[in-house]
């Protein structure tokens, strides 16, 4: 049985439905992420798990036990807040010892456990410092240590990397992965940053307007988004308005107005006439000048519109005959030779018949 079960939970604020009949089950030891734009209800779910807020309907079960009547301080669930919420009048060691003191652990045990977790987050030399004397990354690590020291069943993390600069954020991501693996505690992570979610999580629930749009492993979520919202929210994706003209169990044939036909992977129950979009990741789109793409089932002529040099890759924006702009991403494996194509070059775009997907409206 799952460690945390969220069953048909709904939470309203006046007329606004913040969380709309959400069900999730999270396994022990999992790094689970709630991902979505601000206002999608992810933080409300986190607050209900922590006990700061209660569902209007539905149940939250931890190890099979309904949490409804357990106040926040009695739940074996700790939170790492976005603002860290360190106690400013206590030293690092006192902050970390706080949950142990509240749990009435013997003093010797408190000292030992505090020392051990300080070592684990590499802050032994900061034990007697006050929070205002720490850098953002150090505060972050104190907050993590404080949340983990009493070994909760669940650690909730509310956008904990949001306040850090990009470089530090990347380092902290690696630290988080290692820490979670070492302590073996279930992490429930809330973020609006899809890159972060993909890098850290075992599984991700993408949320949209209070509902769960899709729950999947990062690679499946990226490769097989089920809705236009998910496809759009996770990474970059090209979208072409399309309509099904043939549907077999081997492939889909799609008509794109002003462009022609596309052969796409099959989709169950996609009846002829269904409208939607053909979506394909920029790295799956190939680009060439002459006949080298002719063996591909899907290939179209276009004109390079813009190119964005990103160092390791270049992104080419190509305008097709129907005016749609498709992005193609090419790795720059030959140093110093970034611009294979220039703006206004006439090129060909192509992709394999099993690349991309059809997403219904």
């Amino acid at each position: 049985m799952a460690q945390l079960e969220i069953r048909n939970v709904t939470r309203r604020f006046g007329d606004f439905v913040a969380v709309d009949n959400v069900s999730l089950s999270i396994e022990a030891g999992e790094f689970f992420t709630l991902l979505g734009p601000s206002g999608c209800g992810k933080t409300t779910i986190l607050r209900m798990i922590a006990g700061f807020d209660l569902p209007d309907a539905g149940q939250i079960l931890l190890d099979g036990k309904d949490l409804a009547d357990t106040p926040a301080e009695k739940r074996p669930v700790h939170t790492v807040f976005q603002s860290y919420a360190l106690f400013p009048h206590m030293t690092v060691a006192q902050n970390i010892a706080f949950p142990l003191r509240m749990a009435r652990r013997p003093a010797a045990e408190i000292a030992g456990m505090t020392r051990q977790i300080l070592e684990q987050v590499h802050l032994t030399d900061k034990a007697d410092a006050y929070p205002h004397e720490l850098s953002g990354g150090q505060k972050q690590r104190v907050a993590l240590a404080r949340g983990l020291v009493n070994r909760p069943r669940l650690l909730l993390l509310d956008e904990p990397l949001g306040a850090l600069d990009a470089k530090l954020r990347e380092e902290m991501q690696i630290d988080l992965i290692n820490l979670q693996r070492d302590v073996g505690i279930t992490f429930v992570f809330v973020t609006h940053a899809q890159v972060e979610a993909l890098a850290l999580s075992h599984r991700i629930a993408v949320m949209d307007q209070g509902r769960v749009a899709q729950v999947d492993e990062p690679a499946r979520l990226y490769g097989y988004p089920k809705t236009r919202f998910v496809a759009d929210f996770i990474g970059h994706i090209n979208q072409l308005e399309a309509q099904v003209v043939e549907s077999t169990h081997g492939h889909l044939r799609l008509a794109v107005a002003g462009l022609g036909e596309i052969i796409a992977p099959p989709l169950k129950d996609a009846a002829v006439g269904t409208k939607g979009v053909f979506a394909i990741r920029p790295e799956q789109v190939r680009i060439g000048v002459h006949g080298e793409l002719d063996e591909l089932k899907n290939h179209f002529a276009g004109v390079v519109h813009n190119l964005l040099y990103r160092g390791e890759v270049s992104i080419y924006q190509v305008e097709l005959a129907n005016g749609a702009v498709v992005e193609a991403l090419l790795p720059n494996s030959a140093p110093g030779k970034a611009e294979l194509f220039m703006a206004c070059d006439e090129v060909k775009l192509g992709w394999r018949h099993d690349a991309g997907m059809f997403l219904r409206d």
């Binding site: 006990g51 926040a72 301080e73 669930v77 939170t79 919420a85 106690f87 949950p99 949340g147």
Partner: protein, 263 residues
Amino acid sequence: MDNATMRRGRWLWAAALAVYAFLYVPLAIVVAYSFNDSRLNAEWVGFTWHWYEVLLHDEAMLTAAGNSLLIALVSSLVSTALGTMAGIAMHRYKLKLLTFMVLTPVAMPEILLGVSLLLFFIQVLNLTLGMLSIVLAHITFSIGFVAVIVRARLAGMDESIFEAARDLGASPWETFRYITFPLILPGVVAGGLMAFTLSIDDFVITFFTAGVGVSTLPLHIYSMIKIAVTPEVNAVSTLLMLLTLTMIVLAAKFAPDVLKGKT
């Protein structure tokens, strides 16, 4: 620095000097003349401790001073406790009516408060005016000041600190004991000192609620200067000033944030 800036700088200095002179010269004169060997505050004759000796043997003055200290101590302690609770409640529940009710006595003209408390004590509570009525009156007007200071202290704080405490296993009482109270302590101390100072030099409200038997320092000084301002009044004022200064120094030691204006 150009000329205009320098000129403006000089003017600023002059203005500042004038303000400080206006504030402190009268105080300095009071102190100086408390050591003046003359019955009048008119001219400097010579140095003496005489007026302090007179003060030490002035039974009525000592009784009044004792009353004032006792009233200030009791009323500031009680109003600090109540005002702290009111400040926390105002911050937590954001009820407009509550805020209005706590703050009204602060804005109310003292004379109005004095008269209405007098009527309330006599006609409603049927209380004999004396120490108790003065203490009750002082508590009434001090609560609002303490509440405002405590609330201001809370207003600048990250709310998630208190949630974090509960999240980490602290009961509501433990959250108050280990987190909220230590964090608002500078505000509580500042509020208590404010209440103490307000009480010890209050005249108008005390005048209405004292009745006939009990006198406080301000009431007694007032009754003395109706006859003549002797340097004994200067001496007692100097001591009062010394007491206030000591309290400020203590406050600075105990809660350095209060004077630095740091939250």
